[in-house]
Symmetry: C2
């Protein structure tokens, strides 16, 4: 019996596929620091659990396909506070940011169509583009050039008659790159000129460091037919398990077509929407403390990385990831060795080999992505573990 | 900017797209009986809410991509009680039965490939087949022939070199048709002979009436590489809003490939999985009362339908739907009229026009699907409302 070409072309997630090795290491008694997954250890706000516990309907019924009204209203209010005016009809609730991306690719791509994205990119974009029959076309960037992709020649150099969209994660995953207003404007102008959708994944919007401010692509009125904003409560409110994301766009034709996909899968989970509404109603002060905590962790991680000989990385300006080029031949082999053969102070470390975050063949084989989502002590210990692991691995 | 061919070919759900009319009728003060959606008014078992309320982790973390272990174990136990032995690796948790179907079509269909299904069919199958670039090929059945599709010539007559799967909902949605063991065996043999997947949607497994017993396709050992079982807590436990479905199959290559899709979308909601585990641990006695209640409603609905002149329908043997051919030209027009122009005892009725449940062009325009998910009194009043509506509509 046949497996489709598209599923055969997909890969297991480089972020998740080594979990069995980590589980085995943990069962063997090792502590395993997990820097592979963007799963913060920060507590989910109590408001979420309170809202869920106060749910008093006796039938857990289907929600509205577009999203529960109380969540749509709360999300609208959140956008208003950052200066964006959306009608409720401009918003859709999705099963995490993941479903938002999946639906968007389904809605805009015919077989062979292309989506442009800076590389290294969040690898699941490649999966969703591929599922829709399209191709992800990478703009190469490196730590040395500051992961800079907002360059006219770089972007226009990869636009073809098959290009349908530019997808941007800002702040960046896995690089932490944050675009300035001028850089955003440059991209906006290219999208308008070439009549492309601009898929703007801003799920890390609040996590921008060093006193910098970041704009949202939603603030470019001239591009409101191009811009599609993807959001999620996962990182913003440390509620990854709620699986509540969203799409916001003033492109009515697109939104009406996306409703077909929403209705086909019926709805997002009802209780989690009730909880997520409470999150989007939180006082914006909530982010002040969280941002300070991530900035601190960023600093701790960078200090720890400095002690590793031969490593290359760019200091992230936002989000909570660092892409690092390790002085090893192959990061996947090194990770498996770390999980199966190595320990340091009774512990080892799990990270995401970043080869799958690149579209350019052969690039990124020595790269890893680490997520600085653990508290400072664990983070430091985890990176020390990587440092000692590299020494032992290369001395074998 | 482009919308993809596949999204343009999709339709809004005929089950959900008239909701705005119903909302307007309700706002205008009419009572609207909702027979359109398979949304039971039966209480969700308290065990679900208790499990959710007892969740005591402070971080609502991502779940495992395959599914949370406690839910996988509970589902495995449920299958064991109905005589099926699945390893945990044979099971995947999905965002409702809907995501299960969506993933399966993505995994097995190349553009132009075909999936065979008896018509009338649950319309969202057509959406998911289309999203994957495939074609749903219908086996026509009618109330008069007892919605019989388990006929060698009927099935083999539509098999082509593009056919990849036969999809079966048993008990049937929207017909209530229940297959005998002999009918199942006939289909199983065809699937084996033609090397086809057999997608077995058994989400209404417990709802079979008149003292009949229904087997599961999982019990045919000879077809264990072909058979894929789709399940869901939505109808089984009146927990539609939990969005917890599953895929069970002993086809290891298929399951390993489906894991790519599971990992790309990260996971299903954590809390709902905790709740769903408690549902699958319920004593099987739970179904005795629920089944009796649905059987009673089926009887009430059929008695009420008998009072409508010129209607045609088959008496359902299971699930909770009846497809009816009404003595009106166009069921969509009639529904809009019912919601906007008509009332009877201060009420009107919402149902699903069933034209979208047919693949054969021009068939089913006068058909509706009603879901007998309301209590007997409301159900009777709702169908009386349809009866009086038809009289008034045809007398205009």
């Amino acid at each position: 019996m046949q497996l489709s070409d598209k599923i055969q072309a997909m890969q297991l997630s480089p972020i998740r596929k080594f979990v069995p090795y980590a589980d085995a290491a943990a069962e063997a008694g090792k502590k395993v620091y997990k820097l592979n997954l963007g799963q913060p250890d920060i507590k989910t706000p109590k408001a979420f659990f309170d809202a869920v516990k106060n749910f008093d309907q006796e039938v857990l019924a289907y929600a509205n396909s577009q999203g529960e009204k109380q969540l749509l209203v709360a999300l609208q209010g959140y956008y208003k506070r950052i200066g964006l005016d959306f009608d409720l009809a401009d918003l859709l609730i999705t099963n995490g940011g993941s479903e938002a991306i999946n639906m968007l690719m389904t809605a805009i791509l015919n077989p062979g169509d292309e989506v442009i994205m800076a590389e290294p990119f969040y690898t699941n974009y490649k999966s969703f583009v591929g599922q829709a029959g399209g191709e992800l076309v990478a703009i190469p960037t490196t730590a040395e050039d500051g992961y800079q992709y907002a360059v006219k020649e770089k972007i226009e150099g990869v636009i073809t008659d098959k290009t349908r969209a530019i997808a941007i994660i800002n702040p960046g995953n896995p690089t932490g790159k944050v675009l300035t207003r001028d850089e955003m404007k440059l991209i906006v102008d290219i999208a308008i000129k070439h009549d492309l959708y601009l898929i703007c994944d801003e799920v890390y919007r609040e996590f921008v460091y060093d006193g910098k401010k970041m704009d949202t692509f939603g603030s470019f009125k001239e591009a409101e037919q191009n811009v599609i904003i993807v959001d999620s409560v996962s990182k913003r409110f440390s509620a990854c398990g709620a699986r509540i994301g969203s799409i916001a766009s003033k492109n009515k034709e697109l939104m009406q077509n996306l409703m077909k996909l929403c209705q086909a899968r019926l709805c997002c989970p009802t209780l989690d929407q009730v909880g997520a509404a409470a999150l989007y109603e939180l006082d914006p002060d909530y982010f002040t403390e969280i941002k300070a905590e991530y900035e601190h962790r960023r600093n701790v991680a960078v200090e720890a990385l400095k002690t590793i000989d031969g490593i290359k990385y760019g200091v992230p300006e936002g989000a909570f990831y660092i892409t690092c080029q390790l002085p090893v031949d192959n990061a996947e082999d090194f990770l498996v060795w770390m999980l199966t053969e190595f320990e340091y102070n009774g512990a080892t470390c799990m990270f995401a080999p970043a080869g799958g975050f690149y579209g350019t063949k052969g690039v990124g084989q020595s790269d890893i992505r680490i997520a600085y989502v653990l508290n400072a002590d664990d983070l430091k210990a985890a990176i020390e573990c990587v440092r000692e692991g590299i020494k032992a691995y290369n001395a074998r």
